[in-house]
Structures are given as C-alpha cells and as structure tokens.
C-alpha cells in the first residue's frame, strides 16, 4: 500500500510543479500546451486550467515510477468551471498514447458535463487495453457545487480479473457510485508520461480540464470508504479544530489570524496537532475488521493465520475476518460460506452446506437412490403412491444362500461405538409366494451378519417372524392380516439375563403407535445398514412376490453422522476452487467437535469420518 504521486501544486509562480514523493519529474510544458495559472486555493496555492490550452506533463523520474495497471486510487482537491464546457475534461492521465506500449494509458480520470441534465457532472476512469484501445469505465454522477467551489474527489479502481474491474467514485466523504466494467485488460509501460489538465492522444492534446487543481495524489491500492472519510475528517475537522484550539491560546483580544507570523505558526502547529489526532483517531476507528484498511486486514490475517489469496479484495478480507470472528459466537453457516466462497471461486449462494442427522426418515414420495438408498441387483424397487414397492417375479431366485445379500434396499447407518440403533417401518401391502419372506433388514456387510424381521409365507400361511442369515425362521405372534408396523432396535436394555446382541423386535397390526407386542432376540453386532429385503428358501419363486413399505425411520443416537458437515460446490461452476486454502480455512473456523470438509460430490465411497478424510459417513456407501 503506497502512494506513488503527490502533487501539492503550491509552488510559487515561476517554479515548476513537482512530485513530493520524487517518482515523477518536474511538471512542465511542451509545444502545444502552456502552463496553467497560479492561483489561491484551499490549501494555499493551486493551478488554474483554462480548458483550452493549459496542461502539464512529466516523465517518470524514479525507478519505481508511477505505473499502476491494477488497483489505483486518485484523490484530488479540485474546483470546476463548467461554463462553456461540453467535452470531457482530463484531470490526470498516465501515458500519452503515442502508439507505443510504454505510453498506453495505465489509468486516467476525466470529468464531463452530463449530456442531458444541466448541472450534473460525470466522473469516470479510462485506460488502455492490451490492444491499445481506450476503455472508458462507467461513470458516477454528482451535482456541481458551482464554479470555483472546491471539493474533494476520489476515484478507486479495483482489478479483480481480466473481465471484472470494480470502480468507485466519491465526492467529499460520500460514495456516489460503485460500478463494474468487464474491461480488465489494462496496459501501460514503465517509461510512460503523466499529464495533468489534459490528455495527449496520438500526438494531439485534447479533453482540457477547466477549473483548479489544488492537490492530487495517486496510490497503488483501493482506498476504502472509511479511509476516504478519514481523509475528509482530517481536512475538515481535526486539522481546523486543532488550529482553533491552538489559536485559542493566543492572548485574549489578540486576533492571531491577522498577524502573518502568528497565523503561520498557529496553522503549522495546529494542523500538525490535528494530523496527529487524525492518525490516532484513524487507529482507533479503523483497526477492527469490519472497517480495517488493507494494511490492518493483512495484519489481522497474519495474526489469525488465515489463508488468503493475494488478489483478495479488501471487502473479501473484511468479510473473512468477520466470519472468522463470528464463529466464536457459535457455528454460523452463513459466516463460513462468506469466508470460504472467494477461495472456492464462487458466491455464498452458489455453495451448499451438507448437514446430516442421526435420524433418517422416508415417506417414499420419491425413491432417492442417488444420495440415500442402495438397491440390490435382484428385484425391482420403485416409489409409487407414497410407498416403496418391491417386485420379485415368478421364477426369480432370491435365496440368501445363493444370491447373497442383493435382495435389498438399504441405507448406511453410523451407530458410533455403542452400536445402538432403531429402525421402524410399515409393511403396507404384500403378496408373498410360498417359502418367501419380506421385511425390515439390518445387517453388517463386513461380518456378513443379517437379520430380517417381517412376513413369511409358510406353506400358504402368512406368519410374522425373523431370520438371521444362515439360521432358521423364528415365528412371533399369531395370525394377522392387513398392514403391519414393525420396529427393530437395541436401544432399550433390560436387566437380568439377556441374549448376545440383544435386539428388540416389535410388531403391531393396530397402528404405528399402539398395540405393539415385543420379543427380545439375539440380533447382530454393529449394525451398519438398515432397510428392506426379501429372502426365499425355495428356488425359483413359486409366484410373484411383492411388498409395499412405508413410513421408514432409522435412528442412531450415538452416531457421528450429525457431527459431519461439508461445503458442497457444484463442479459444473466456472472457475478453479483453491481447495487446499478452503479446507485449511474450514478447519480453522469449524467448531472443534465437528468434522467439516469440502466436497464437489454428494456421494463418495465410504471410509471413516474420524480420520479427517471425507471417504466415509454421511456421503458414504459401501
């Protein structure tokens, strides 16, 4: 963050105007232009331009020069004279556009009378692109305060990409416009010439400024609204206030302002004092992230070890700092998205946070096999009329002993270290071939253990019961008809002698919340999948076997599912996400007890959430 040009334009008559920072040679005339007049201005002296013949130019002097092809701020104390002005007026241009690359306009600022509304003034940037064509940015508009009335004008340019440049304009301490142009190819060379009061284009001087230039500064950063306001307050409050304060020390009755020596002393001391006050006030008012300058923001980032991109704008840095700070108030998804979005080449509304719950329900209005359910190779599954319908056709072979565990629709369930789970569903309708059975299935596919709790056709008679893989059918309850509500869980324990892997089986033909009978059985250890399935002890099926399931619920009270979340970015979005930086920032911002990550896929192969990889868990399927 540096200023590259500072013109006070307060030299006495006959002395060339100079750059206080030493980057520009003394400003002089050449054939075709004459020197602007020396006048009294707000800071003491300034230069008056007649809008027809007067301008100044100078080449770069120092090796650092004045070339800026990205971010720029131009700030000036000026007054205008719009009498007879119809064409744009150039305040400053860096480059004389003589056809060489080095003299292309790297930046320029011009003002123009509004084409249709009298009294209004347009202010706008211009620069050359890589082909040498002059690009004019969209203009801000303000109302002229009147001829000869001095005010502060600030223009900022923020280069974001080759097709996006943000320009802002301010008069005094008010922002009058923030606009975007796609002209992001900005040219210019290190040996360019700077002109004041007009611009030179292919050898001809044009766009003459009419008014007074009192002071002008050019900086290589985008000055923020707060910084602009602070300059304004220094000029109009702190310094004049300090001058008055010091002047009040003069003996009573003495008008120090009328005494040349005293007035100079009071002004120098007072304004110096005011400058100190302004600096202190700037530190006080502008160190917090929401209003930090670029310099302060970088200091915050270094201290908090936040990852950023070099070209992040001040707005992005502030937003990230605020998002980081707001995490202390709790987990704030909008804050995380705000902070991470720029790193992922996206806007917050283009990103999605994937969150999960330990409870999974499904009313089967649709059958989501993309992110929720897996189905086996045998049998047809479809959602119709609010139920999940299974169809096995006559002559299908669905024996577990032969086709394995493919006769199913299942979802993954993370029971955590306790292995506790709960599953319930309704078998709404069924037509079961002899020796076949359908129902809720819970299983561990690593150990190959599986338990089915449902309805079997036992020699033409429908019976409720359960079977473990490799085991016999165990009937429960008595005769029944119509829909059946089933529950399988191991959450409730019972004192006394219990079977291994105690599992409660509950069934009701009355409804979902009443009339349940129970039986405690020896189930399977560490259930990992729950869903629906079918089995047969005869092959092929003696007839079609169909079942309709509904009101599915699976619950794992001790699972880690609810602690995992991911920021999802659609891979079809344009741009290249900086995944490493984003993940590093997510890790710093997430609540410590959660697992947070980034993904461009909503379904990934399974793994373990606790080792920091995204390979298992909510997104996972075996």
């Amino acid at each position: 963050m540096a200023h590259v040009l500072l013109l006070h334009l307060d030299e006495p008559e006959g002395v060339l105007a100079s750059d206080a920072l030493g980057n520009l040679d003394d400003l002089r005339v050449e054939p075709g232009i004459v020197a602007p007049g020396y006048v009294t201005a707000w800071t003491g002296r300034g230069r008056s331009f007649d809008g027809a013949t007067q301008a100044l130019l100078a080449p770069d002097l120092s090796e650092l020069g004045t070339l800026l092809t990205r971010d720029v701020t131009i700030q000036a104390l000026i007054s205008l004279n719009l009498d007879g002005v119809a064409a744009p007026m150039t305040a400053i241009a860096r480059g004389v556009n003589d056809g060489s690359v080095s003299e292309r306009y790297a930046y320029g600022l011009e003002l123009a009378p509004h084409p249709t509304e009298a009294g209004l003034v347009l202010v706008r940037w211009f620069w050359s692109d890589y082909a040498g064509a002059i690009q004019t940015a969209p203009a801000g508009v303000f109302r002229s305060p009147g001829n000869g009335k001095e005010f502060m004008l600030t223009a900022t340019r923020r280069w974001e990409s080759s097709d996006r440049v943000v320009v802002r304009y301010y008069v005094n301490d008010q922002r009058i416009a923030e606009l975007v142009t796609a002209a992001g190819d900005i040219s210019g060379g290190t040996t360019g010439t700077t002109t004041i009061g007009a611009r030179k284009d292919t050898g001809a001087w044009e766009r003459w400024f009419k008014g007074t230039l009192d002071e002008l500064v050019v900086a290589d950063f985008e000055m923020s609204l707060e910084e602009v306001r602070h300059v304004w307050r220094r000029l109009t409050e702190y310094q004049p206030g300090a001058v008055e304060t010091f002047g009040a020390l003069a003996p009573v009755g003495l008008n120090w302002a009328e005494l040349p020596y005293m007035s100079k002393l009071v002004k120098v001391v007072g304004q110096a004092h005011g400058t100190v006050v302004a600096e202190a006030e700037e530190l006080r008012a502008m160190w917090l992230p929401p209003v930090a300058t670029l310099e302060s923001a970088r200091a915050w980032e270094a201290g908090l070890k936040l990852s950023t991109k070099p070209r992040d704008s001040l707005d992005q840095r502030r937003a990230r700092l605020i998002a980081y700070g707001s995490r202390l108030q709790g987990f704030s998804i909008p804050a995380v998205l705000q902070a991470v979005a720029p790193l992922l080449a996206a806007t917050p509304d283009q990103l999605e946070v994937l969150e999960y719950d330990n409870i999974v329900t499904d009313g089967f209005d649709t059958f989501d096999t993309e992110t929720k359910w897996l189905t086996g190779d045998v049998g047809a599954w479809a959602a119709a009329g609010g139920t999940l319908d299974l169809v096995h056709e006559f002559t299908d072979d669905i024996r577990w002993s032969v086709v394995g565990n493919t006769c199913h629709a299942r979802i993954g369930i993370d029971t955590g270290e306790t292995g506790r789970f709960y599953a319930s569903a309704k078998i709404a309708a069924y037509d079961i071939a002899e020796d076949a059975e359908v129902g809720i299935v819970v299983e561990n596919r690593v150990t190959g253990q599986r338990l089915l709790f449902g309805i079997r056709n036992e020699m033409g008679l429908l019976v409720l019961g359960w079977r473990k893989a490799g085991g016999a059918w165990n009937p429960v309850g008595g005769a029944f008809a119509g829909p059946v509500w089933l529950r399988v869980h191991n959450i409730v324990s019972e004192n006394g002698i219990v079977p291994a892997n105690p599992t409660w089986l509950e069934w009701s033909t009355s409804g979902p919340n009443s009339g349940f009978d129970t039986e405690l059985v020896s189930g399977i250890a560490m259930v990992q999948w729950v869903g629906f399935g079918a089995n047969s002890t005869a092959a092929p099926l003696a007839g079609d076997t169909t079942a309709s399931f509904d009101d599915f619920l699976a619950y794992a009270p001790d699972g880690l599912r609810s602690f995992a979340w991911y920021i999802y970015r659609d891979p079809a979005l344009p741009g290249i996400p900086d995944v490493n930086q984003a993940v590093a920032l997510i890790k710093r911002m997430k609540p410590g007890h959660t697992f947070g990550g980034f993904t461009q896929a909503k379904v990934l192969p399974a793994g373990d959430t606790r080792d920091g990889l995204t390979s298992r868990g909510p997104l996972g399927r075996w």
Partner: protein
C-alpha cells in the same frame, strides 16, 4: 447509492371478493422506498398510499409496479387484491432510491416454449441505476437469473393455476438506449412474459464546498513505501 436492502415474498389467498396478495411489512428504515412488482391477468387494486409506477398490459402476462415510501405509521401488512387471478409478486426494499422519480424506464417481452426467456432491453442514462427483471411463466419452472443478475426470489404458486415467478436485479453499469440484456434460463421451457424496470438512483449528491476561515491546510498526504525495484524487472503491459 441505490441498493436493494431486502425482499419479501407474499402470501396468496382466496378471499370473499377474489384473491389477495399479502406482503408482510419488513419495517425498513423510515424513508426507504418499497417497490412491489405484481404479475397478473386481471386488474390489481393496491393498498392506500402506494403510487403506480407502471402498468404494462402489452405482455401475455400483465405487470403492475408500485412504490411506497416507508413511514412509521405503515400497517403490518400490505394487501394487493384482484377479482380472481393467480397473482404473484415481490416486495423490494430499496435504500437511496429517487423518491420523486422512481422509474426511469420499463420494457416488456413475451416468450413461449422457451428455455431461455428473454430479458427486455434496458434504457438508462446513468450506470448507477438499478435494473429489476421479472419473469412470469405458466407451470412450475426452475428459473435461473441471466448472467450478471442476482436472483432476488423465485417461487411457484398454485391457488388457481400453477405459475412461476422470478425476480432478479443488477446495477446497470452501462448507459444507453435499449441496451440488450442476457436471457434467463427456464427448466423446462416456459411460456409467459418478462418485465424490466430501471429504478433511478437518488438525486445526485452536491458536495459541500471546502471552506476554511484561515486558508492553508496541509492538504493531502502520502508516502511511498514500495521496496526498491530489482534490476531487470520486466516492463508491464
């Protein structure tokens, strides 16, 4: 500078005399300008205190736009009524709009069976003005805002006949007459009308004059903190 501060999605309901589109008062800052855009097929009656910005019947679907300056005695709800129609709309809260000349221009375009519903061309004399684009289609459609526009809201209603409404906005950023705008996207193809409003920025600011009873301020300050350039640094451009 004109900004979109907030938006409110309405509730559509049958009444004894027709349908009512009700917006909950967002209670913005006093003086902020509320703008309501309604897509309809029959005449709309606005509540008291709302001025009409535009009534455009040129399209297949008609549009009305109204404005109201927020006041401290505003009711909790703003209700727009119609004899009988599937009304849809949005309420926008704007800050620093021009209260005397809210609307600079408007335009309408129709589309039929189109996966890229057009955005009407805009005429604007100031880059800082704001463009508000509205699309109203039959059926449930996923509407995506055109490039450069930010979607404010989109939803589907089905009180009388299923319809989809979408509203998006952007800074004009350019000036000129009938500047072509990029198309939106509809999935599946939509049939309906589009409206474009150009909202004017506040009255241009008049900067106060720098006045000092004792002229001779230090003026602007600055320092060059750039490190020295290394020899052989390539020329930019």
């Amino acid at each position: 500078m004109l900004e979109l501060v907030d938006n409110v999605r309405p509730v559509l309901a049958m009444t004894d005399t027709g349908v009512a589109l009700t917006f909950e008062n967002p209670y913005p800052a006093i003086g902020d300008l509320l703008v309501v855009v309604i897509a309809h097929g029959t005449d709309v009656v606005p509540p008291a205190g709302w001025i009409g910005l535009v009534t455009d019947t040129a399209g297949t679907r008609k549009f009305d736009a109204y404005a109201h300056t927020a006041a401290d005695d505003d009711p909790d709800e703003f209700v727009f009524t119609s004899a009988s129609d599937e009304l849809q709309g949005a309420l926008l809260v704007t800050s620093e709009a021009n209260p005397a000349h809210v609307l600079e221009a408007s335009a309408v375009a129709n589309f039929a069976g189109d996966t890229t519903p057009p955005t009407p061309a805009a005429t604007t004399i100031e880059a800082v003005h704001m463009l508000i684009a509205v699309w109203s289609t039959a059926g449930a459609r996923a509407i995506t805002a055109p490039t450069g526009y930010e979607m404010v809201d989109t939803y589907t209603d089905d009180l009388i006949a299923e319809r989809t409404f979408a509203i998006a906005g952007r800074r004009a950023n350019v000036v000129g007459a009938a500047i072509a705008q990029p198309d939106a996207a509809s999935d599946p193809a939509g049939t309906g009308s589009a409206l474009l409003l150009v909202l004017r920025d506040r009255f241009p600011v008049t900067p106060a004059e720098l006045v000092d009873l004792v002229p001779g301020n230090i003026g602007l300050t600055g320092r060059d903190t750039r490190p020295p350039r290394e020899a052989g640094t390539p020329e930019e451009g």
